[in-house]
Structures are given as C-alpha cells and as structure tokens.
Amino acid sequence: MSKKMHIKLNVNGKDEEFLAEPRELLIHTLRERLNITGPHIGCETSHCGACTVSINGKSVKSCTMFAAQANGAQITTIEGIGGTDNLHPLQEAFKEHHGLQCGFCTSGMITRATKLLEEIPNPTEEEIRFGMAGNICRCTGYQNIVKSIQAAAAEMNAAKEAAE
C-alpha cells in the first residue's frame, strides 16, 4: 500500500486533519470520512455535477479531485451554505419555486449557483443556463431551477440594496 499522507482541510469553517492514501477522492473524504453527505455521487465520472463543492472559491466536481490535491484548501459544501434554521436565499427559492423534485442534484446545483451569483449577481436566463451547464438534473427540466436562481438573485440584490 502506498504511504498515507497527512492531510489538512478546512471544511465549512472547521479544520479537519487525517491520514489518507493519496488516491482517496475528495468526494469520498467528505462523505465517508467526514460524514458530510450533502455533496452526492451521481456519476463519479465528472459529468453530472452532483458532487460540486467550492474549493478556494471555485466550483469543483469533488469526484475529480484527490483529497491530497485539496490539502490546505478551504472547502464549502451545501452544509456550509445554510441549514434548516437559516436557509440561504437560494435554498428558500428552490423550495418556493419547485426548483427540485427528487432533490438528488440540488446540493450540487445550489453550491454551484452560489458561485454563479457571486460572478454574475443579476444573471439572464441564458447566463444561468450556461453557468449551470456542469450540473445535470433528471427531474425538473431545468425551467424551475432557472426561476429559482432568478428569484434568489432578486432577493439577494434587494437585501444588499436595503443594507446600503
């Protein structure tokens, strides 16, 4: 067996340290080692986006990165975006606008959408469809996902204006 590595990650603001084989994929670290099960495994072949997390501010498919590569990184998963008592505007909007059906793709969708709205705070439908192209949904037909993201953007922009 190859030598285990000492790996340090900061996940959702919490420092984690462990020993792992270099071949351990980040999605397996999150789900199996750290019990952070929000990021899902849809395809495990870099296509579906269900495993999307933010790493140092970039949306990344965590099935296509070794934990060793992420050593030292800041990681945000859906758990760090909001929870039952403090839903993020995107989570609220997906609930209100039926942006999910089975919900399997949702954690990846919302994690990716947080980054999209940082880059483009007020996206058009076309920009949403292009910016969300790495996330596949088998249920919704995408229409309500687009609506949810637009609604969340409006909500977040209004809140920002009110605060200014």
């Binding site: 190859s2 590595m5 949306s59 099935c63 296509t64 590569q69 790495g134």
Partner: protein, 284 residues
C-alpha cells in the same frame, strides 16, 4: 471508480519536478488540473505510480501580453483565459474557444498546458494552437526547447514532448484579422464531433491569408495548409468556400465512433468549416 495506488508529490519548483521525473522515468507523470488525467486513472486506463502535482510550482500561471506576442503559462486555466481583462482584445479567438470547452467546473480546473500536452484528439486547444501557429516551450534536464504546435502532435497521446519534459508555456504572435472557433457537439460539455479554428485577413475585399485547423477529425489535430491556400486571392465566394472545404477533406481522416459514421463526420466538418469561415470573414 478508485484509481490504482500511487505516490503523490507536490514540488515547489521546476527543479523539483524535473528531478522526480528523472528519478522515476516512465513511472512518473505530472498533473495540472487533473481533469483529463484523473478520469483516466479512475478508469485505470492510465497507470501512474508516481504522480507529480504541479499546482505549487511558481511562474506557470501568468498571462503576459507583449507588443507582438502573447505568453501563456502552462497552469493558466480555461477560466483564467475567459476572465482575463486584456487577452480578449488581442486574441479574442482564445476566449471564444475556451468558452466552448466542457462546463464551468471543468474550466476552473483544466489548464492550457494540460489541454495541449494531453494529446487527446478531442481536446480543443491543440487545433486552436495550430491555427495560431503557437510555439510550446518544454523544460527538461538539458534545459528548455521550443516546439511549434504544428510539429507537436504525432498520433493520439503521442507528442514531440519527451516523457521527462514538462511543458511550461505557450507563445503566440498577436493574431491578425477575423477569427472564429466553431464547434459541433452533441451537448454542452461534450468533446467536438467536429470543430474548426480560423484566422483570416483581407485587403479591399480579397483574402490575403487564412489559417485553418480542425479538431477531432483525425488522431491528431489537423492544420490544413491547403484549405487556407484555397482562399487566398479570393473574395470567399461560394466557389472558394467549397474549394477550401474540399481541400480540408483531403487532410482529415475521421473514424467511426459514438459521434457518428465517417460520412457524417465529413459532412459536419464541412458545415462547421463553412460557418467558421463566414463568421471569421465577417469579422476581418
């Protein structure tokens, strides 16, 4: 989907990378974004006992725009190319092509160095680099050498880079005239069924120069000198477009696969090249 075991290294400089490559020979490989290599390792189609992660190697992430050339470090990502403030002014074809590669998540990770060094005929940057007559710089134990993109590709996954060399940067002259990167794919995020990179210059309605390269229509990218030559001196009328397409057909060699039979690929290549030429001409 777990790769075979390997040792992982993250050297801080190129000297560290080169000494690992020297020590482990064929058993070692560098990794940039990992978005071609990791999928292959997961499928166990690539066996990499010693994996050298380039992410901490300094000096490979810059985009430098000089008065006559553009210098792009190997670790510059597709998303860096899309976002860079000045690059699209001097070489808009780079951004147009980068936006047609994969999806946002992949573009944050995938690098220009990995894309051109990989040697997969499906990659979009190699054809683009042949169209732009780019030069690749590779570093090895004996120092650096330059390899033109048009001489770099030998067969699928076989390039002029030696196993113990690392690609450090890509240099291109400022492209002139009109441009287009046109790509046919089955869905967003897919590799090309056919793609064409075109740069074209005109003077008073007549074509002065045309550079044309095609993607995923052979086991290497295809720079079609004959297709470009068929356009020079013409006004890109229908006869000239048809002649260029016929010349391009003479240079490509598509095979049948899940993107379609040979006749279909030839057909799509013709449609895509015609669109690319019309768009590039309208921008020239």
């Amino acid at each position: 989907m777990i790769p075979a075991e390997f040792e992982y290294y993250r050297p801080k400089d190129m000297a560290g990378v080169l000494s690992l490559l020297e020590e482990h020979g064929d058993d070692a490989r560098v990794m940039a974004g990992g978005h071609s290599l990791i999928p292959m390792m997961k499928l166990r189609m690539a066996d990499v006992p010693h994996l050298i992660d380039l992410q901490d190697v300094g000096g490979l992430s810059n985009i430098e725009i000089n008065s006559d050339s553009i210098h792009i470090g190997a670790l510059v990502t597709q998303s860096d190319i899309v976002e860079h403030a000045g690059l699209a002014d001097v070489a808009p074809i780079l951004r147009e092509a980068a936006l047609q590669i994969a999806d946002p998540q992949v573009r944050y990770m995938g690098t220009i160095g990995g894309n051109v060094a990989n040697g997969d005929p499906g990659n979009d940057m190699p054809g683009l680099m042949q169209c732009l007559d780019a030069v690749f710089t590779v570093a090895g134990a004996d120092g650096e050498r330059q390899i033109p993109a048009r001489d770099f590709y030998e067969a699928a996954y076989m390039t002029a880079r030696e196993d113990d060399e690392v690609l450090t940067s890509v240099t291109i002259a400022h492209p002139q005239g009109g441009y287009a990167y046109e790509k046919q794919k089955r869905k967003i995020g897919d590799y090309a069924t056919a793609a064409a990179a075109v740069q074209i210059t005109k003077e008073g309605g007549t074509c002065v120069s045309a550079s044309i390269a095609m993607t995923n229509l052979s086991d290497t990218p295809v720079y079609s000198e004959a297709a470009g030559a068929a356009l020079v001196g013409t006004s890109l009328n229908d006869a000239a477009l048809s002649a260029a397409i016929a010349a391009m057909w003479g240079d490509i060699d598509p095979t049948e696969d899940n993107r379609g039979p040979i006749a279909f690929k030839n057909h799509v290549a013709g449609v895509i090249l015609r669109r690319a030429l019309e768009r590039a001409w309208s921008r020239a």
